[in-house]
Structure formats: C-alpha cells, structure tokens
Symmetry: C2
Subunit: 229 residues, 2 copies
DNA sequence: CCATACCACCTTCCATACCAGTATCCCCAG
DNA sequence: CTGGGGATACTGGTATGGAAGGTGGTATGG
C-alpha cells in the first residue's frame, strides 16, 4: 500500500509554532507520575480513569500512552488497560548499554571540540554533587548528577544524540530512584566525573569515551546487583 | 499535575498480543512512501487526504504521523498538514553520528561474545554484496548491505540498541536512495566489512568498534559531500 | 495600481460515539 | 462442591463531528 504523491506544495523550513497541546500535558503528567513512583510498576489502569483525573478526554491520554509505550515505560494492553512496566533487570541492562554508547560518543565528540561553556557547567555540577553529598542531600546530589550528564550530551553538538540519551536517562532514573535507598553512598561518582573532565580538557576523545563508559558501567553494575537482589 | 495512584491491580509480566492495527498499516505505508521517494521532501499534505487514500479514518493516520515525526521523517504542522522533512545535511550528520555510536557499540558487544550465526549471516551478506556489485545490481547490493548491518545490531544481544539503530538506519537509507545515482561504485564497503568481520572473529572489541565506526564515517562523509553539492 | 482589511475555507486537535473482543463472573449441571 | 459454558460488562481501537485557529484570497479604499 502506497501513498501517491498528492498535489505538491513545496515549502521552506518553518519553525514549529509549538502550541501547547493537551496530549503534551498528559504525557508530562504520566511520565512524572511514573518517574516519581506514584504509579508503581505493575499497576494497571484504564485510559478513561487517567483522562478523568486529568480532566480531559481519552484521545490525548491515548496519544500520551502510546508515546510512553514507545519509550518503554508502560504498555497498553487492549482490553486490559495501560500497565506500568516493571523494572526488568535485563531491560535495564540494555538501556545502560545504549546509554554507554551514546554518552561515550558524546564525550568523544565534546573532547574533539572546544566548548568552555559545557565544561564549566559540568564542573559546576560536579562541585555541587560534592556539596550535596557532604550535606547528605541525596535528592540534590541526583539533580546535580543529572545536570552533569545533561550538559555532557547537550554540549556535544548533536541534538539528536542528546534526545536519545535523555530518553535512556529517564529510564535509568527510574531505576535509580527505586534503588537509591539500598545503594551505598555514591562517593565514586565525583572522581569519575573528574576523570571525564580531565580527558575532555585534554581533548583526548578516546580517553573521554572510555572514562564515560567506565563511569556508566560501574553505576549500571551497582544498580543491577541491587535490583537482582 | 500528577496522576494519583488508582485502584491497584498488580499483575505479572505478559507477552504482548501484537494484534495488527490500522495505525501500524498507516505507519508502514507512509514510511515506505517516504523512503521510496514517492513523497518527496518538502511536500505538504493533509492527514485527511492520506486517510482517504488508505481507506481509513484520520485517527490512525494521525498516530502514524506522530510516530514518523518522532523519528524525524516528517513534521506535523498545526493547521498546515504533515510536511515531509527535507534531507538536511546537518540532520544527516547527526544521524550518522548516532549510528556510528550505536553500531560501534554493537560491534564491540558482538566481539565480546561468541555468536557464529550472526557472523555467518554477515559473511553471507558481504559475499552477496560482491556478487551484486559484479552484476551491476545496485538494488541487490543495497539490500545485502542492509542485511549486513541488520545482522550486526541484531546479533549483539541488545534489542533496544538494535531498534534505535534500525531507526537511524532508516533515515540514512533515505539519503542513500536520493544520492545513489551521484555516488561512485561502493567498492570499498566489501573490504571494510571484511575488516569488521576479522575483528569480530578475533574477539577484539575495540578493533571491531573502530572498524565499524570507520566504515560508517566514510559512508557518511561520502554522502554528505554529495548532498552538500 | 497598490495596500490593507475582512471573510471564508481548510487544517489540526479534542470530545464523543461506536464497535469488536475478551476477561470475568454467575449460574447451572454433574 | 466443582467445573464448564455463556452472558455481561468493560476495555482499547476507530470513526466522526465540532471548535479553535491560521492562511490565502478577495474586495475595497486611497
């Protein structure tokens, strides 16, 4: 089945008007609820119920559910409802492998160019992580860590890569939120971030990639061991 | 805005039933039409018109359009229609960087494990590429090349990575289809594939990653130079 | 003849209605 | 009491109509 070329009207590129849509609101609300753990894994609920809570109809909720399904956060089961996917260790392993690939590439790209602003942001985030750790504020630590990685992928000059990495990070964040209490203090992250920064400053792409990969691989192993019990 | 935990009903994991939906058909039809060039870049058309051609309503077409938009093939412009995105060289560069990262990681993973079936498939594909090239059959060559890369990412043991790589490959395929006529004979690919296979057989992850990255980087540079004129 | 303002059409987005399918529960038979 | 069969009700997938909004065309005034 093919779509035949309709009456042509070639246009130049145009900036997206970006009106806020209800579907976007539903997406954000659902995602936030899942990431915060308000909707624990395994929960099943009907689209209609979600629509009622959000004060909209099923249509935008359905669209949001499909998007989240695409990202692997939930599953829409016909005649069953939408189900928040449990954190499958195997799934998480795959996600971390993707994340290692993407962030490693981002680090290599960033090392190959001068980008003082990104490096500064990453240094600031690392410093804040140290402060938060000293203060025992795990939430602040996680936020600063998130800023570090976000600055890394957003500074590499590849928005597509950054977007994919952000999606994978969202998944990993879920796992970190659920295992935070059972993991030891994240004292290693700061020095690993330091190693990444050093490689970036030196402009050594391979070292930057390797340091980033090591950092994520260690975190992955740690979380997986906790998750697997 | 948050979704409060509704009446819980925790269930065990279940395999997806995977009924075929009209939305999937619309997605496939649209994507094929774009990849084949039937819907050239820049074209604007209404969702209604597509729905009419496919003999369905606007709802599944809209869903398909959103999916394609997510993949970067088109753009849904409110009150304008869906627009097939032009092949922006900058965009393609980003896509290839993602592809290099993902396929490089896949090669490294594959090298670290024994997977004779995948290697055999890749060797077969490479041989078929040689035959197609000798016969002057560009289409068969492209198909065999596609099989090579598909076997690589699907053999690495990470379906998530494979899916992302497949999406990126689709984008690259569009560019290859549009520039095929203006590019030289792809004689280098076969030996580059050979280098990748050698590294995989040797179990050398780093060499496999490097060889894969080099292969894609060369193709990327070639296509981009043609595309930029 | 050109510029401007108004109007009408066409678009997506959302709400609502319909449909088909299946899981569940109840009832009856053994 | 237990097992099976069927009716029922609830679900998501799809269709459709209405509303909001923007664009292009046209008409009018300078």
């Amino acid at each position: 089945m093919e779509v035949k070329p309709p009456p042509l009207r070639v246009t130049a590129a145009a900036p997206p008007p970006a009106r806020e849509k209800l579907a976007d609101a539903a997406y954000a609300a659902l995602k936030a609820s899942i990431l915060e753990g308000l909707l624990p894994p395994g929960v099943e609920t009907a689209e209609q119920a979600i629509a009622d809570q959000l004060g909209m109809s099923r249509t935008p909720v359905h669209e949001a559910a499909l998007r989240l399904q695409h990202e692997g956060m939930l599953q829409v089961l016909p005649r069953k409802g939408v189900r928040v996917l449990p954190l499958d260790p195997e799934d998480l392993r795959q996600t971390y492998e993707v994340l290692i690939a993407l962030e490693g590439a981002a680090a290599a790209l960033l090392a190959a160019q001068a980008h003082p602003a990104a490096l500064a942001a990453m240094e600031r985030a690392t410093a804040e992580m140290g402060q938060a750790l000293a203060a025992g504020d795990r939430a602040a630590w996680a936020a600063a860590d998130d800023r570090f990685h976000r600055a890394l992928v957003e500074g590499c000059g590849n928005p597509k890569l950054a977007r994919l990495a952000a999606t994978a990070t969202d998944q990993a964040q879920r796992a970190r939120a659920l295992t935070a209490a059972r993991r030891p203090e994240p004292v290693l992250s700061a020095e690993e971030h330091g190693a990444i920064l050093a490689a970036l400053r030196a402009g050594d792409s391979e070292a930057a990639r390797a340091a980033t990969a090591r950092h994520r691989a260690r975190a992955s192993a740690e979380i997986l061991s906790v998750l697997r019990g």
